[in-house]
C-alpha cells in the first residue's frame, strides 16, 4: 500500500518536473533571445517583417512561384511514373532487371540532391547536352525521388495479400489489369502517406534550383533583399513555401480517408 503510493507520487513528480522544466526552458530561451542576446528588436521588425517596403513588389514573385510549381509538378509526375513502372517491373521477379533497379535505387538514394543538380547542370554541356537550367533540375529531382517512390510502390504492392492476386488470376484477370483494379487500389492506403512526404520533399528540394541560376523564389528574394535592404522578401518566400505545401498535406489526408472507407465498420 505504502509502496504503491510512493510510486504514484514519484511518477507524478517526474511529470511535473518535465512540464515545468520544458516551459521554464522555453521561457528562458525567449527571454534570453529577446533581452540578452544583443538583438535589437526594432531592427527585427524593420529587417524581417518590413512589409511596407514590400508593397507594390509582390507581383515580382508571381512568375518564380509558377516556375517552382512547374518544376515540382513535372518532377512529381516523372518520379511517380518512373517509380510505379519500376515497382511493376520488379514484381515480375526477373533477376537481371531487379539487379539493375536495385543499383539504381542505391545510387540515387545515396547521391545528395545538391550534388546531382550541380553535376547535371555543369557537366552535361561538356557532352553537348545543353539542358535549360529548369530542365536539369527537373531531371535531377525525377531521378532522385523515383528511387524512393519505387520502394514506396513496391512495399505497397507487397502489402496486398497474395490470396488477392490468386483470386484475380483465377478469374482470368491479366497481371496488368489485376495491378490496376485489384492490387493498386488496396495498396493505396499503404502508399499514400509516404508518397505525400516524397511530394513535399520534392516541393522543398526545388529550392536547390537557386544554385544553378533558375529564376525561382529564393533568387528573386535575394535580389529584392539587395534593393530594399531588408530580409523581409526571404521571410515572405518561406511563408509562400508554407502556402504551397499546406494544400498537399490536406489533400493527402483526404485521399487517405477516402481509401480507408472500405476498411471501416
Amino acid at each position: 500500500m505504502m509502496k504503491g503510493r510512493i510510486k504514484i507520487i514519484s511518477s507524478k513528480n517526474y511529470k511535473d518536473i518535465a512540464y515545468g522544466g520544458s516551459i521554464a526552458a522555453f521561457l528562458a530561451l525567449v527571454i534570453y533571445v529577446m533581452f540578452f542576446s544583443g538583438a535589437d528588436w526594432s531592427l527585427f521588425k524593420e529587417q524581417f517583417l518590413n512589409f511596407e517596403k514590400m508593397e507594390g513588389r509582390y507581383h515580382i514573385f508571381v512568375s518564380p512561384l509558377l516556375l517552382v510549381l512547374k518544376i515540382s509538378f513535372y518532377s512529381c509526375f516523372w518520379a511517380t511514373a518512373i517509380g510505379l513502372s519500376m515497382a511493376i517491373i520488379r514484381n515480375y521477379n526477373n533477376m537481371f532487371l531487379n539487379g539493375i533497379i536495385t543499383a539504381y535505387i542505391v545510387l540515387f538514394r545515396s547521391i545528395p540532391a545538391m550534388v546531382l543538380v550541380v553535376l547535371v547542370y555543369f557537366t552535361l554541356p561538356y557532352v553537348g547536352l545543353n539542358l535549360v537550367s529548369t530542365n536539369s533540375v527537373i531531371a535531377s529531382l525525377s531521378l532522385l525521388f523515383s528511387a524512393y517512390t519505387t520502394e514506396i510502390f513496391r512495399s505497397g504492392i507487397n502489402s496486398v495479400d497474395r490470396a488477392q492476386v490468386d483470386a484475380a488470376k483465377s478469374l482470368g484477370i491479366g497481371s496488368l489489369q489485376s495491378m490496376r483494379w485489384v492490387i493498386l487500389p488496396q495498396a493505396l492506403r499503404v502508399i499514400i502517406p509516404p508518397l505525400t512526404s516524397v511530394l513535399i520533399d520534392i516541393l522543398k528540394t526545388t529550392s536547390i534550383a537557386y544554385v544553378v541560376g533558375v529564376p525561382e523564389l529564393i533568387a528573386r528574394a535575394r535580389q529584392m533583399e539587395g534593393v530594399i535592404g531588408s530580409v523581409t522578401p526571404l521571410i515572405f518566400v518561406s511563408f509562400l513555401y508554407f502556402l504551397i505545401i499546406l494544400p498537399v498535406v490536406i489533400f493527402s489526408s483526404r485521399l487517405e480517408k477516402r481509401s480507408r472507407r472500405w476498411s471501416k465498420s
Partner: protein, 229 residues
C-alpha cells in the same frame, strides 16, 4: 563534338587526372569540413531529437502545441531558405554566426524534429505492458526509460534514424551556398578554375564512397524491419 561518344574524349572531360594534379589537397580539406559538419550535426540532432520525443510524450497541451508547430515548421521550410535566413539574415539583427555554426544550427534544428518524431513513434510502438512490467519490478520512471523503453525504441527506430543520418550527410552539401569550403564547394572552385568538370565528378564519387555503404545499411535495416511486421 560530333555527338558520338568517344571514350578518350569522355575520359579527357570527366576523368582528367591532369586537372586533378595538385588539387586533391583542396578536395580533401573540403571532405574534412563536410565530415566535421556531419558528425557534429548527427550527434547533436540525435540528442536533441531524443529530448524532443520525450517532451512530446510527457508534455502537456502547451509543450505539445509548441513541438507540433516546430515539426510542421521544419516540414514546410526548405533548408536552403533556413540557411540563408540564419547566415545572411540574422546579421541584420547583429546576431552573427560563422558559416560552420549556421550549417550545424540549421541542420540540427530541422533534423532533430524528424528524429524526435521517429523516436516518439518508436516508443509508442512498444507495448505498454513493458512499462508496467518494469515499474512493477520497482524501477523508477527514469530507469524505465533508460533501461527498458529507449533501448527497445532504438531498435525500432534504427532504420529511420540511419535514414536521417544519411540525410544529414547529404544536406551538408546544401551548405555550399554559404562561405564555407566543404566538399562540393571545393570541387566547384577547382572545376571553375580548371574549366573542366572532373573535380565535380571526383567529389560525387567521394560522396558516394561514404553514402552508398550507409544507404545499403539503411535498406537492409528497413527490409529487416519490414519482414518483422
Amino acid at each position: 563534338m560530333d555527338g558520338a561518344f568517344d571514350i578518350d574524349e569522355i575520359r579527357y572531360i570527366f576523368f582528367n587526372m591532369q586537372v586533378m594534379e595538385g588539387q586533391w589537397g583542396l578536395l580533401f580539406s573540403g571532405l574534412w569540413m563536410t565530415v566535421k559538419i556531419a558528425v557534429v550535426a548527427i550527434i547533436a540532432s540525435t540528442a536533441l531529437g531524443l529530448l524532443v520525443s520525450i517532451l512530446r510524450l510527457k508534455g502537456n497541451a502547451f509543450t505539445n502545441a509548441l513541438l507540433i508547430g516546430y515539426l510542421e515548421f521544419c516540414r514546410a521550410t526548405p533548408i536552403v531558405v533556413a540557411l540563408i535566413v540564419v547566415y545572411f539574415g540574422l546579421p541584420f539583427l547583429n546576431i552573427t554566426f560563422s558559416p560552420f555554426q549556421s550549417a550545424v544550427i540549421v541542420i540540427v534544428f530541422v533534423h532533430a524534429a524528424y528524429i524526435g518524431e521517429a523516436f516518439r513513434s518508436g516508443i509508442l510502438a512498444i507495448n505498454i505492458a513493458q512499462s508496467e512490467a518494469a515499474q512493477s519490478l520497482g524501477l523508477t520512471q527514469l530507469q524505465t526509460y533508460r533501461y527498458i523503453l529507449v533501448p527497445q525504441a532504438f531498435r525500432i527506430v534504427l532504420p529511420t534514424l540511419s535514414n536521417q543520418w544519411t540525410g544529414i550527410i547529404k544536406d551538408t552539401s546544401i551548405c555550399t551556398i554559404l562561405a564555407i569550403t566543404e566538399l562540393l564547394k571545393a570541387a566547384q572552385i577547382v572545376a571553375a578554375w580548371k574549366a573542366n568538370p572532373t573535380p565535380l565528378v571526383m567529389s560525387t564519387l567521394l560522396y558516394l564512397l561514404i553514402l552508398i555503404p550507409l544507404t545499403i545499411f539503411t535498406m537492409k535495416l528497413e527490409r529487416k524491419a519490414g519482414l518483422k511486421k
